[in-house]
Symmetry: C2
Subunit: 467 residues, 2 copies
């Protein structure tokens, strides 16, 4: 995607906070706010017209709700399809509600299908239909509607239906002439697909080989036969993996019949890679999704569920302590020291869990390597368990001048670190084999285990050996 207005990016300004590679500077944001305050439409348009669509999208995201509405009211015509495609879901919905259906349809009719789909896929079905009906071009309408038939987060949604496919017997010269004469080419493309008479992809010609080759040569003689064909119902995480694994710039997408129906380009995948990694980060810490642009009430609601689950597990851990009230009553030092054992187990387990979750996502952890990794994590748990048993036991024994207390702390520490290491791996693996996202529930399950085992081992050993 490229913005219409040519401009040369400045080198970093000295002392600039944001680095000079980013078009949206704090100074610009202040100037836009100022223009909005003064209701100065001319100045506002002057400020935002030269911006790259991605920067204008960011600018709109950073404004407060009423400022956004004001900006759209004054300069809505500058908020084109590309800007909408770049804006974050929650904010985009609000803006589309403010715009006229026909304007939205006009804005997205310039986009490739993948971006058009991205703009409207989160809207309610009736609103989607209204915008689709308002699209001026029947082929666009049909293409976008068909892409929406594929499930969310699949290749069918990511692909654009604009691509170039040619038969293998065409020559380089014919191909170049065709491209010079056609005025219906995709906006950006990096390779040409070679198809057989059934329209199945059989090869690909990167544009640079087209340019290196003399006119009479046929496409079949220069095409690469190594194809990474992506079925349209492939999950986007898998698509991201294939692009990353094989360093692809674009890849052909086929329908159920094997016919070429679209192409996915690397810019879409870069977004996916970021989203998927971010999803793991957020799920591991119990945030349902990026919510920085969401209102406080919705944010609190979204995070509530995980906190509720955590409350349940915290109460479970308390229930374990409750069983030992008598023990604690006789020796209150136990209450002082018990959080240390639980906390160390939780942290060691989270380390293993995080490595395991990412290794599953990057296919570094597979059925064939589980046993080896489990063996290793157990050894790691034992090694650090022994080291921290000595450290913590020593501190406890010195603090309360009671060597026996030190041994109990140390014993509980070794047990909990061993449990943490193995369950940090076992929990995500079991979830994965059950086809549940290993990042989602693993953290709660793990800390439940390490809290319960931590308190149980420490208070249990204390009950046996100290009283």
């Amino acid at each position: 995607m490229t913005s219409g207005a040519p401009k040369r990016e400045a080198l970093p300004e000295a002392g600039s906070d944001e680095g000079g590679l980013y078009g949206l500077t704090p100074a610009l944001l202040r100037a836009v706010r100022d223009a909005l305050d003064r209701d100065d439409e001319t100045r506002l348009r002057e400020l935002i017209a030269p911006l790259h669509a991605a920067d204008l999208a960011d600018l709109i995201e950073r404004l407060r709700g009423e400022e956004r509405r004001h900006l759209v009211a004054l300069a809505g015509s500058l908020v084109g399809g590309e800007v909408l495609a770049f804006i974050e879901d929650d904010v985009r919905e609000a803006i589309i509600r403010q715009l006229d259906t026909r304007d939205v349809a006009a804005a997205i009719s310039d986009l490739d299908t993948d971006d058009a789909v991205a703009v409207i896929e989160d809207l309610d079905p009736p609103q989607q239909r209204e915008i689709l009906d308002a699209l001026p071009d029947a082929a666009d309408r049909h293409g976008v509607a068909e892409s929406l038939n594929y499930p969310e987060n699949t290749a069918g949604r990511l692909m654009q239906r604009e691509f170039i496919s040619l038969p293998a017997f065409w020559t380089v010269g014919q191909t170049i002439d065709f491209m010079r004469e056609s005025d219906d080419l995709p906006h950006d493309f990096y390779e040409i697909f070679v198809v057989n008479p059934r329209q199945e992809p059989i090869g690909t010609v990167p544009l640079n080989s087209l340019l290196r080759t003399r006119r009479p040569i046929r496409l079949r003689d220069i095409m690469q036969e190594e194809l990474h064909v992506i079925p349209a119902d492939t999950d986007q995480e898998e698509v991201g993996f294939v692009f990353d694994q094989y360093d692809l710039i674009s890849a052909p997408v086929v329908g159920a019949s094997g016919r070429l129906i679209g192409v996915i380009t690397v810019d879409d995948v870069l977004d996916v890679a970021r989203e998927e990694a971010e999803e793991d980060i957020f799920r591991l810490s119990g945030v349902p999704e990026a919510d920085i642009y969401r209102a406080a009430l919705q944010t609190a609601g979204g995070r509530f569920v995980w906190l509720l689950v955590n409350l349940g597990t915290a109460i479970l851990a308390s229930f374990v302590i409750y069983q030992f009230e008598g023990t604690i009553e006789q020796m209150v030092a136990l209450a002082v020291l018990m959080p240390i054992v639980a906390s160390m187990g939780g942290n060691a387990g989270t380390q293993t869990l995080t490595v395991a979750v990412r290794a599953i996502a990057t296919k570094d952890l597979t059925v064939g390597t589980i046993r080896r990794v489990l063996g290793k994590e157990t050894i790691v748990g034992l090694l650090n368990g022994v080291v921290f048993a000595v450290l913590t036991g020593g501190v406890a024994a010195a603090w309360y001048e009671d060597p026996a207390l030190g041994y109990v702390v140390g014993g509980a520490m070794i047990i909990n670190m061993l449990v943490a290491g193995s369950f940090g791996l076992i929990i995500p693996v079991v979830l994965w084999r059950l086809r549940i996202d290993p990042a989602t529930a693993a953290g709660v399950l793990l800390t439940t285990v390490t809290d319960v085992i931590g308190f149980l081992a420490f208070l249990g050993l204390a009950g046996m050996f100290l009283l």
Copy 2:
């Protein structure tokens, strides 16, 4: 990068575990292990020769140490430069140690500078020099050495020195003829850079516009003047941001004088995007880096530091409890309930922290928006604080049949959730402004705060109101 051996990727096998888009199947891994066991060199070569370099790299990573050495001994000639470039650092080092310096030099001399640099940048300086000296081509030697002069994780290391730059007065026809005649073009390229007589980039011509345009037209008339010029000392995180923000496929890199010295392509950036997101994930959970292929002792050592810091903070929290030993002695229920308040604060704080860390990385959280986000997070903390105060207070009051205990639990919960929400934001922002990676130390600092405040508020309120 493309492997030499053309092959058509099969569609997913029914019941296949890995999905059919990935060349390295469990069956293949088993077959390779089997060939190694039987010391069957012919079979081994037959199995790995058709593999994509990235898949062979993964295969080598998944083998045990002695199996790897065996594979390299039998079929080292198939482990070319591209395979080395795809292999994970720890494993690559071991393999390079096993190979002859001259073989390594030959392998990397076919690579673009960015990949050659990636292969040798983690080696010891003497070993680096030895390999560099063995490179057959002087220009390669010079280019790689110069790239290594840039700090790690900068654009200078990511860029390749192979690119095409032409003056603006050249015509499309001249350009195409030049490419057909030259046999020293980069492996893959997606655009041509237009430079002025001082070799500074002034525009870019995507290959597809070259192909759409008639021969007599000059480059200056079709070049895009919107350039995202990247200084060679730019941090790779910033490079990833620019590519993602502006959907770039490649970007020119300039030296201190503004001269074009290299180009960064999106495939390198896709790796960076994954690495950077992964770095945040790992740092947030106290893992120094991906360590799945590292030996147990090194892994334990790498994770030790964070656990040690955590032990320090856990002892600090215990010290807070210690101040209230007398209170707990009088009412042991406090020992049972206190972990709940601390744990809920820790979890709520981690949610905010994670959102903040990612928002800083994606530039969604900036100096201009901090105040608004802080206000929001405080409200979120208050909302969920009140809800969980009621829930937890109710449970505590019912459990111990003591309404006053319920009020104390509830009060402490509200205080700790408020603290968690605001410190979950303040801690990463302060670290960021101090130019410390906000993901690294934020987690420990935050749970220290929520543990200390959780215990202090709960036991303090209990001491005041219950005894």
